[in-house]
């Protein structure tokens, strides 16, 4: 999954081959919904050095998103219920993608939909568009239309992936939900259905309550997606379990705030990682993570970050205990 280090060159090999020709120049990307479409941060986080940009979740038509309040802080984390506000796939194709063509960093469009049809149509509209490096399929997005959360069920996840796979030749990364009863099973199902890689995890369903208002802080049902350091243990467990279940690359996401966090994901089995919420705290968080990982690999004499990977013994490949 990782290009071998050219003989005689100093320093670790950082590039990561995802499949179908998609190669990330380094394994540190920025997560969907935390970096817009790559244009916003500008000088605060020069995109040239990133390993990948995963865009905001994109749907067929523009979506205005949920009513506010949409974000709320929790202990070592945050909740969001943005409701997939996005300009729609046509704007992405026609206005953003042309700019991406000249960028040295692959831009991977995060795709969401209310039903299989919408997923397939968005993927189809992105197919063959220059500047688009791949698709990250958000099969666990909010139930925007009262529909199904495909990410929770292996069979439904697989049917979604198969449908999208048929609609596009782009590299396809499937983003897994921690809400599934068995995330490893979902990973296996989507790998079999044609995913080139998986990314994990999306946010965890959570709620913040205002005692003063005697209601949840977020609008609507009051639930949102939990992200940030609080979910790092959940993400690490998911990555370890998915790693043991599939042979395709695994991109780790969840609570990465510094290089040490990222390196832990490589131990757990990741081939690459994404930095999400921490970019809100430090706009150049992903670059700090990259620099720290590079320095660590150099000091530790690693040829590649995946050399950190832990190989569990027999029992570890099964579902581990949840406590008690």
């Amino acid at each position: 999954m990782v290009t071998p280090a050219p003989a005689g060159r100093a320093g670790p090999t950082l590039s990561v081959a995802i499949g179908r020709g998609l190669v990330l120049p380094n394994p540190i990307g920025v997560a969907s919904g935390t970096f817009g479409y790559g244009f916003e941060l500008g000088a605060l986080c020069p995109v040239e050095r990133l390993g990948a940009i995963f865009t905001k979740g994109t749907t067929l038509r523009p979506r205005p998103g949920n009513p506010p309040p949409r974000v709320a802080e929790t202990t070592a984390g945050m909740l969001n219920a943005i409701g997939l506000q996005n300009p729609g796939v046509e704007v992405v194709r026609e206005r953003y993608a042309p700019s991406w063509r000249s960028w040295p960093v692959p831009v991977i469009v995060n795709v969401a939909g209310a039903d299989l049809e919408e997923y397939a149509r968005v993927a189809g509209r992105l197919d063959g568009v220059p500047g688009i490096g791949g698709i990250e399929l958000n099969i666990s997005c909010p139930n925007v239309a009262g529909g199904l959360d495909f990410g929770l069920d292996p069979a439904q996840a697989a049917s979604c992936v198969a449908r999208v796979r048929a609609a596009t030749t782009l590299p396809l990364i499937v983003k897994l939900s921690p809400g599934a009863a068995d995330i490893a099973e979902v990973a296996r199902a989507v790998a079999d259905a044609g995913a080139d890689a998986v990314s994990a995890i999306n946010t965890v369903v959570g709620m913040k309550v205002s005692l003063a208002l005697r209601r949840p802080v977020l609008a609507g049902s009051g639930t949102g997606g939990l992200s940030g350091p609080a979910i790092k243990p959940v993400a690490l467990a998911a990555v370890a379990r998915v790693r043991a279940a599939v042979a395709i690359p695994v991109i780790g996401i969840g609570g990465i705030a510094d290089a040490a966090d990222a390196l832990e994901f490589f131990v757990a089995g990741a081939d690459a990682v994404q930095v999400g919420t921490q970019t809100f705290v430090e706009p150049d968080a992903a670059l700090r993570v990259l620099d720290g990982c590079r320095a660590y690999a150099g000091e530790a004499g690693l040829a590649r970050l995946t050399d950190l990977r832990w190989s569990p013994g027999g029992p570890a490949s099964g579902r581990g205990p949840g406590g008690g």
Binding site: T34, G36, E40, R63, P64, G65, P67, R70, A76, M78
Partner: protein, 290 residues
Amino acid sequence: MRPIERGGGVPEPLAPSDLGRARSGLAVVREVEPVGPGCVELVLDCAGVARAARPGEFCQLRVAEGPVPLLRRPFSVCRTDPAAGTVTVHVGVVGAGTRRLAAAQLGDRIGVLGPLGRGFTVPSGPGTLLMVAGGLGAAPFPLLAAAGHARGAKLVWLNGAATAARLYPVERLGAPVEAHVATEDGSRGRRGRVTDLLPALLGECDRIAACGPNPMLAAVARTVAARAPGLPLEVSLEAPMGCGIGTCLGCALPVVGAPALALLCRAGPVLPAVAVDWGRLGTLPPAHAA
């Protein structure tokens, strides 16, 4: 009226953006000045913001080194000294983050990201600017007062608070103003709210800049709409801000017209009052509620 970003979802990422001036760095605390109960002003070494900030813009400040509290907090740029390279922020304690900031010691380093957002229209010459501040809303006015004064504007100051001790010390505005105050307990000035004093001042002014809790701004907007409909009124609003730079899409706020939500951190925090959908804003749960 300048155009408001309310594009089809995300703010238009290709459009020219104010973020070009924003920088992220650590600022050393140079002075800590208590200003009334539960309020301090922090003078920070931050040459970039001191040079670039315009009245009504804000900075995102880190309130902890670790993960609790996690997110930065937004603070209006209160005052700048471009020569000294310092920026002052006015911090009113409301929760854990502001409590930590207010406890900052000389020499501490605080992460500052800014300047961000779009501020008040600075008067382009003589004429009267009425500045209306309620609650902790005085923060942006020293910088606006300085800019207005520099351009020869006449400044009128209308400040309301629960009690005299919570009024913003008028001398801290740093420019000559005609001051009017209202306190809810009558301990200084007129007993009541700023909106009680406002009608009498509307005839004298050419534009209004207001800052305070959203419900107060709504009351100001109602008063102006009813009594002086054409008078330009700009309001500095509040919304929970995950990022301050337009990527989290968390600070959406109802505006008039489709698609009806604007990102306050990019289109605001200062908006023309006529652009805000006050009706829908009023029906939403407050942005912040502990």
